[in-house]
């Protein structure tokens, strides 16, 4: 592939890809996302390819291995286009039947979705309850793309936003568009991305850096992984556009060392983008130079904290530093460094393509666009969900999630993993909104949503989350290093029936001081689940102390 020298060459190349593809030729997309992979979707994909080979069907049928489709509960997932016919829990033995039906334009009835209550069937993606209440702006392309093939991304319009930014917009115009879109950081804080970009852009020091935070260490969050593994070019395109607006010539993708498939896809995407002239010097003849490097963590959650992450990129241990001077002003090697989460970057191309006005028409008053949510816990349909901001939690939990497993009742909803919070089931009509959820004590965080049924022990939930977090702290500052194990010790005693008088006061003091006194966000929010428990479920805690609420 010769390097594309201009926007016109890219568009010409895109037209060639499209004309070489017959939209009427059926395509069988086999999900190779983490959950499907765990259910051996690779064997399903291999069976399809073998059958294609044996029956010499290459001209009549395409088989594509793709990133995560979303409906993890029902994997391995297979989607047949045209028509987006969804087959669930597909086994290698089903392959011959699917191929035969697809060639005849028919549907394998026994493999389509069936409502567990009514028995009604749903064939096409837009009819399946799990998908029909979603708005899949970011994830929707996943079934259409083999993440190892940049041409697949170009075929769905990929890199056209970059072309627009580089050829039709000034750096300031790109920044303004992102600011107007009020794109808020998807990594947990909800901080406006445009303001952050502007700070780095205006910081006097050079060079400047842009970074994709693909660390995703939050428990019960798996959407960034799906996004970056399934459609790496979308994230990369966002990053290049951001770098252009900010005036950065060097970028980093920082992710986990323990996801081989993600690493393979991202490495490949960087190589392909470079080969096509979308990375490197003089991108598409615009005069803009940009390089991107891949970096891995050393295995603890705090690596995802922005200042720790930057220390890690420098080659130092991932220890956070106080951010009295922000990393957007002084980050990697003390240079201005703009860090955004995977999902935040993935939103950028569509904002540039379709405009801020379109983007702000989606979502709630102060939280715009869609949000990826990892849905799990005691839910019927676990998976990755994308809905407009402002969607009531009820839609997420019941319409999409199918409600609570095994006919049980919902007790609580937990958002934000080990640094989030739990709210009682009667707040189920709260809208999905950064500020609203924070006020309720269950901040969206990165977007891990857990449903908890009537049998859930709320003391155990707090204990479990702390047990996870206690090993993820770096250990630098005292309140986090010492406070978490002490809270964990008390909670463990309580779950073992060894609660004693004074425990709740001790917990409250530890939670307050860990929150106020810790250096970074990990420590500061480590007691947030516990605080939400005291707010909504305190009687359960009091019941674990001899003498109950009287003794405290």
């Amino acid at each position: 592939m010769p390097k594309l020298q201009s926007a016109a060459e890219l568009e010409k190349f895109r037209a060639e890809i499209l004309s070489s593809r017959d939209p009427a030729r059926p395509c069988i997309a086999v999900c190779a996302g983490a959950a499907c992979d765990g259910m051996d979707s690779a064997a399903v994909a291999a069976a399809f390819l073998a059958a294609l080979d044996q029956q010499q069907l290459g001209d009549r049928l395409e088989v594509r291995t793709t990133g995560c489709h979303g409906y993890c509960e029902k994997g391995p997932n297979v989607v047949v286009t045209p028509g987006e016919i969804c087959y669930f829990e597909v086994q290698p033995a089903d392959v011959a039947e699917i191929i035969a039906a697809t060639l005849k334009g028919e549907v394998v009835d026994r493999l389509v979705y069936q409502d567990p209550n009514t028995g009604a069937k749903a064939v096409h993606m837009h009819e399946v309850p799990f998908y029909k209440h979603q708005m899949r702006l970011l994830m929707g392309d996943n079934p259409k793309i083999d993440p190892m093939r940049i041409d697949d991304y170009l075929a769905v319009g990929g890199y056209s936003a970059l072309v627009k930014a580089l050829t039709q917009m000034s750096q300031d115009q790109v920044l303004d568009e992102v600011k107007k879109a009020n794109l808020r950081g998807r990594g947990g804080g909800g901080f406006p991305a445009g303001s952050k970009w502007e700070t780095t852009k205006k910081a006097p020091s050079m060079p400047k850096y842009v970074i994709v935070n693909g660390h995703e260490g939050e428990s019960a969050a798996f959407m960034d992984r799906a996004m970056l593994t399934g459609n790496p070019h979308k994230v990369l395109e966002g990053l290049i556009i951001g770098a252009y607006a900010i005036g950065a010539q060097k970028g980093f993708m920082y992710t986990r060392h323990d996801m081989p498939l993600l690493e393979k896809h991202v490495r490949n995407a960087l190589v392909q983008a470079k080969e096509y002239g979308l990375l490197g010097e003089n991108i598409l003849g615009s005069g803009f130079d940009f390089e991107c490097e891949l970096h891995f963590d050393v295995g603890i959650f705090v690596s995802g904290e922005s200042s720790a992450l930057m220390r890690s990129i420098e080659g130092n241990p991932p220890e956070p530093r106080p951010k009295y001077i922000r990393t957007s002003v002084s980050g990697i090697w003390d240079k201005p460094s703009n860090l955004n989460n995977v999902e935040t970057w993935a939103n950028v191309p569509q904002i540039i393509s379709k405009g801020a006005e379109w983007f702000t028409s989606i979502g709630s008053e102060k939280s715009k666009g869609t949000k990826l949510i990892s849905l799990s816990g005691n839910v019927v349909n676990s998976g990755i969900v994308e809905v407009p901001m402002g969607t009531p939690l009820r839609t997420l939990a019941f319409d999409i999630g199918g409600g609570v497993r095994d006919g049980k009742t919902l007790k609580a909803i937990h958002f934000g993993g080990a640094m989030g919070g739990s709210i009682p089931a009667d707040l189920i009509d709260a809208p999905l909104d950064f500020d609203g959820m924070s006020k309720l004590g269950a901040p969206i965080g990165a977007g891990g949503l857990l449903l908890m049924d009537e049998d859930t022990d709320m003391v155990e939930v707090a204990r479990y989350l702390l047990d996870f977090l206690v090993n993820e702290s770096c250990g630098k500052c005292a309140p986090c290093r010492e406070g978490m194990p002490q809270m964990l010790h008390i909670l463990t005693n309580m779950t073992e029936g060894k609660g004693k008088s004074g425990d709740l006061e001790r917990l409250e003091d530890l939670a307050e001081v860990t929150g106020l006194g810790s250096l970074c966000a990990l420590g500061k929010t480590s007691a947030d689940p516990l605080k939400s428990m005291f707010r909504y479920f305190k009687p359960e805690y009091e019941a674990r102390i001899p003498g109950g609420s009287e003794a405290k």
Binding site: E472, G483, L510
Partner: protein, 225 residues
């Protein structure tokens, strides 16, 4: 000093004029206002680990809790070195650290001042409070790196690297005196006993004011009633 590089701020109702670029801790020290510290040492870069030097800062209408050893002075900020919250932070941190080293003199003094209960939290195995003075001193001042941090979170501890310690530690011993809990010398002696018994490098000549061969600092428990 030119007028432009001077900053006026308020610390505990006292107007203080200091040079720009100073930290709140330095400004307070200059004004004769005491802020407690454990991990701070004037020869070392500010660390911000023990969090005892936390103060309340009011800037542009916002109140926040910051570590004074790192927080840069700024025009017109109002600093309170004692408040109900600040005192509570210090009390609980001292209680947490006393779970490791209930008899460490500095902690005992702090406990008296802040009303900390040395028995409040579950006793921890190690009497190291991970202030990192030894590690940072060895790195920043001595450039030897004979002692480092290992592991993370609650499992973090200091550890002497036998190959280096064998050559340099007995002759130096400077970190022993810095350690608030005497853990550094205990950790060194344990390392020596396990890794290179009898093989330490003795000082070529006694350092000034010391006797050759014995410089271990005695551990002095403070008896509490």
């Amino acid at each position: 000093m030119s007028a432009t590089s001077e900053i006026t701020l308020t610390i505990d109702d006292k107007e203080v004029k200091v040079a720009a670029g100073m930290t709140v801790l330095q400004a307070a020290q200059q004004a004769g206002i005491h802020i407690p510290t454990l991990c701070h040492h004037e020869k070392l870069e500010a660390f911000g680990g023990c969090r005892l030097c936390m103060v309340e800062v009011e800037a542009r209408g916002w109140t926040s809790y910051v570590v004074s050893c790192l927080y840069p002075v700024a025009k017109d900020i109002v600093v309170r070195t004692r408040s109900q919250k600040v005192d509570k932070i210090r009390k609980v941190i001292v209680e947490e650290l006393m779970a490791h080293a209930p008899d460490a003199p500095e902690l005992v003094r702090l406990a008296e001042e802040y009303g900390a209960d040395r028995e409040r939290f579950e006793r921890q195995e190690s009497f190291c409070i991970v202030c990192g003075l030894c590690v940072r001193y060895c790195n920043e001042v001595k450039h030897e790196n004979a002692v480092g941090f290992i592991d993370n979170g609650a499992k973090r501890e200091i550890s002497f690297i036998p190959e280096v310690a064998k050559k340099v530690c007995w002759e130096c011993q400077e970190c022993f005196a810095l350690c608030p809990t005497s853990y550094a010398q205990a950790a060194y002696l344990l390392t020596e006993a396990l890794a290179f018994p009898g093989q330490r490098k003795e000082p070529s000549r006694p350092a000034k004011g010391t006797q050759a061969g014995r410089r271990v600092i005695p551990i002095m428990p403070i008896m509490t009633a």
